[in-house]
Symmetry: C2
Subunit: 130 residues, 2 copies
């Protein structure tokens, strides 16, 4: 990862409070793992800040490289079409430059959570708790 | 958990292949952790089998208690309204009886993945891999 980097955690958004609470809490847990890094959250739908608002909010920081993390379980239309379109990412690309008006920042688009044994471990735990 | 139980893992479904692949792979990982348990998958939207088809498919098993696991990151309208409606679960309840025609099975509705430090660990890993 680059120096002077920041992280924008993107959530789906929801009419209910749970998605936003999950995204904000996970972002807080990330902050514990990445001391000194500016970590913000934004949402595709139904919640604020929007993705554009989240991106623009880094104008007032010294961040030069922004990691955009889609907090989604799997890739889908949101992660492969909607978010890349907002970021101005060509199909299949993971790096681009985004204009904050007075300056540009480098953007690195991370993968969603995806398949991992820890997801199965957590799913198993939810079953045993039920 | 009960004897003679089965598991139905529910995914959101997608026009693309990634959600189904994730749900099927996690279901396979669960099967490794739960030897001898019948584990099936179903989808709310855009993929088959549907939730109803997934439920009915347990008619041909000896399962008497079915754990329904929503493989969603957080609660939302799908997990709190749509799925409970299909299961016939009253608001806020987690247990009901579901008719398979010739017999009834007990249904236990598990929680979605939700907030957990392992989600933050995985998100952190996706950032370092980006």
């Amino acid at each position: 990862m680059q120096e002077n980097f920041g992280v924008l955690v993107l959530g789906h958004g929801s009419k209910l409070t749970y998605n936003k609470r999950t995204v904000e809490t996970v972002a807080g847990m990330l902050a514990e793992r990445m001391a000194g890094v500016t970590i913000k959250t934004a949402y595709l739908n139904m919640d604020r800040p929007t993705v554009e608002e989240g991106l623009k909010s880094f104008a007032e920081t010294d961040v030069t490289t922004l990691y955009v993390l889609p907090l989604f379980l799997a890739h889908g239309t949101h992660t492969l079409k909607d978010i890349p379109k907002i970021l101005g990412l060509p199909d299949g690309e993971h790096r681009t430059t985004y204009s904050l008006g007075a300056r540009n920042i480098d953007v690195v688009y991370a993968e969603p959570l995806g398949i991992d044994s820890c997801i199965a471990d957590l799913a198993h735990r939810r079953l045993t708790e039920a």
